[in-house]
């Protein structure tokens, strides 16, 4: 039992636990700790006077959560080839504070969620330099796995400072 625990601790230190998802043909990954829940896409209620990167909000068991379409965000065409597989990933950490009923959560719409992966840290490369800067620093690195690359994202960097404040304002106005 102790070995197992130790092993697992080692594993915990040396590996990164991700949840992988795909948008289009590309596979992305987000740290497991930042994910609250994964659900099937709910009906998005568009709100007036919301910043335009916000598609709208959903009501998830009473919580009002703003939704961002990652496809749009990554400026890919909005085609959904398998609507059955689309998911909403409810994330925390993108916003600060616990205003309103959202508790700082946002929802990301993705084409599909794959699995929970443990990727050894040694298999993770830092992000290429071209992907840095204001629009790119949410990519923390590239994970190498058997059948390709996983683009690792940082949820805290998904929204820029401006966007966060705008959302906070809107949230304030709401509450």
């Amino acid at each position: 039992m102790n070995d197992k625990k130790a092993k697992q601790a080692v594993v915990a230190d040396e590996t990164l636990q991700l949840v992988t998802f795909h948008i289009g043909p590309e596979v992305y990954g987000l740290e497991i700790n930042s994910i609250t829940e994964i659900v099937r896409p709910h009906r998005i209620t568009p709100l007036p006077r919301m910043p335009k990167f916000i598609e709208g909000v959903i009501n998830l068991r009473g919580a009002i959560i703003p939704i961002i379409d990652l496809r749009k965000r990554f400026a890919l065409a909005t085609i959904h080839d398998n609507p059955r597989k689309m998911r909403m990933m409810i994330m925390r950490g993108a916003l600060q504070g616990a205003n309103g009923t959202g508790r700082g959560l946002i929802g990301l719409v993705v084409d599909g969620v794959n699995e929970v992966l443990h990727v050894p840290k040694k298999d993770i490369e830092p992000a290429p330099e071209v992907a840095t800067g204001a629009s790119g620093d949410f990519i923390t690195g590239m994970g190498k796995v058997a059948d390709g690359l996983i683009i690792l994202l940082d949820i805290t960097k998904i929204l820029s400072q401006q966007e966060r404040s705008a959302l906070a304002e809107a949230g304030n106005a709401e509450s």
């Binding site: 497991i32 994964i38 059955r84 998911r87």
Partner: protein, 695 residues
Amino acid sequence: MLDLKEKIEASMGLKLAVVITGVILALMVLGTAFVARTMSADQYRHIETHGKDLGMFLGKAVTDPILQKDMKKLESLVADAVKTQDMLYTYVTDSSDAVLNNVVTSFNRENPELHEFLLQNTSDSAPALAAKVKAQFDVLEIPVDIKTGETKLGTVWMGFSRTGAKQNVRGIVFLLLGTSVAIVLALAAMVYMMARKMIVVPTKEAVSVASNIAAGDLTQSVRIASHDEFGMLGRGLNRMITGLKGMIGNVQQAAMNVESVSTEVKGASARIATGSRTQAESVDEAASSVNEMHFALKEIAGTAQDLFATSTQTSSSVIETVASVDEVARTMHELSASIEETTSAIAQMSVAIRQIAGNVELLSAAAADTAASSSEISTSVKEVEETARQSLALSEAVASDAQQLGMHSIDKTIEGMGRIDAAARRTADVVNRLVGRVESIGSILTVIEDITDQTGLLALNAAILAAQAGEHGKGFSVVAAEIRDLSNRTAASTQEIGNLIASVQEESKVAAGVMQEGVAIVEEGMRLSKDAGQTLRKILERADQSRDMSRSINRAAAEQVRSIRQVSEAVERISGMTLQIAKAANEQKSASEQIARASEKMSEITRFVRTSTEGQAKAGKDITAAVENMSAKITLVNRATGEVQTGSNMIVKAIERIKQIAKENASQAAGLNSAVEIMADQAGSLKNEIQKFRM
């Protein structure tokens, strides 16, 4: 009186004198009257005042006597008082109007008239007598009260005569009047004298000179030396005389000129008059000769017109002749042409007739042949008849066979087909139901897939939570993994089922397709058998038809035999006829030859006629040309005469106008002459008049 009036009117001096006299006299009279009036009033007042004074004095004087009743004193006072100038009477009354003094003493006896009067009239009462005197004489009565302090004792009554005053006044008046008359007369005389001298004399002088001028004597001039208005008048008149002299001198000169000119003009106008007369006469002559010419021209024109008409007629008749000659020529042409045609036609006819003769022979030969062949036709026709009968029998047999056997089997086939069709349909229904079931399985499958999805999701979330829980979540992560496996297996099975269903669907679709095909084939079979039935029925119909046809063929064959017999009879007849035709054709041939010869002769004749008519035509054309030439010339002549005529017309008109003008001229000349005469007279009289003036 009238004489005087006239005299006054004729004389300025008298007028003035009279006027002045009158005016001043009037003024004087008025003045005198006024003075008289004023004076008399003045006199009366004087008398009154004097009287009053006297009265007062007397009153004072008699106061005491009255008071003392001293009548004597009173009487003496009154007697004294009454002797005053102009006093007629005086008496005193007391406060009760009783006369106190004696009537005798009351009156002034020193006045002769009064004295006279008093001798006639006496009275006891002074007032009564005084009243009488007042009535007789012009008296001014003055009462004056006698007063002592405030009490009135009585009244002094005084009567003054006004005649003295009157006389005074009268005297003055006369004096004034006399003076004024004298002044007036003196003034008048002076004015008269002055007027005469200063006005009348110069005026008379001017008047005499003016009359001289009127008479024509311009030698005298006005002699007025004064520098006043009359002097100016005189000088003006003199100036006038000088001016007149000058003017009249000019006028005299002019009159003389006018006279000489007028004589000349008279002469000239006389000449004009005679000239215009001669002009008029010559114009008349010209007019008459022009008229003669005009008439001559008209005649010429008329003749030319006639000539033109005649030439036109000639021309037209010539043209007609030519035309008719032409027509003859043409007709000849036509005739010759038609003769030619006839000739050729006749030739053709001969040819044709020969042909006919030939043909007729052929025809007879042919007729013989026909007769032979017609008998052959009869035999063949009989054969046809036989054949027709046979075919009829055959077709009847076919009909019955088809009827019996064919329809029966067809019906059976159709029945069988129907059964197959029904079976196929049932199978198809079954297959369809199968497909439906498969689809419902598919929908259930969707539900299962959904569940699988949700399960997967659940597993994922569980895994996430487990990971997040770290140590504590390990047990749960196992559970999550199991669930995940489960969902994966479910997913896999679902997939398999899905595949199976898909394949079953495919198969059933295929089966349905095949069923459809089978059904289609069965339908096809049914249709075919129906068609067979139809065809069979048609065959039956045809068999009937062919039976009918062969019957009719039979009949037709019989008829044909009959008609062929008729044909052979006809052919016989034709043979006979053709022989006749041959004979006739020969006869025609000889006749046509004769005609041909005759027509040849005709052609010759017509040729001859044609040449002669052509000659004629040519001659005719020449004539036409000549005639036309003449016509043209005549037209020219006509036109020329016309122009000449119009010209002569114009001349005549012009001549008329000239005549008119000449007449006017003559009258004008006469008028002029008379005017000139008048002018000459006027000039003469003017001269005479002017001559009157002496300068």
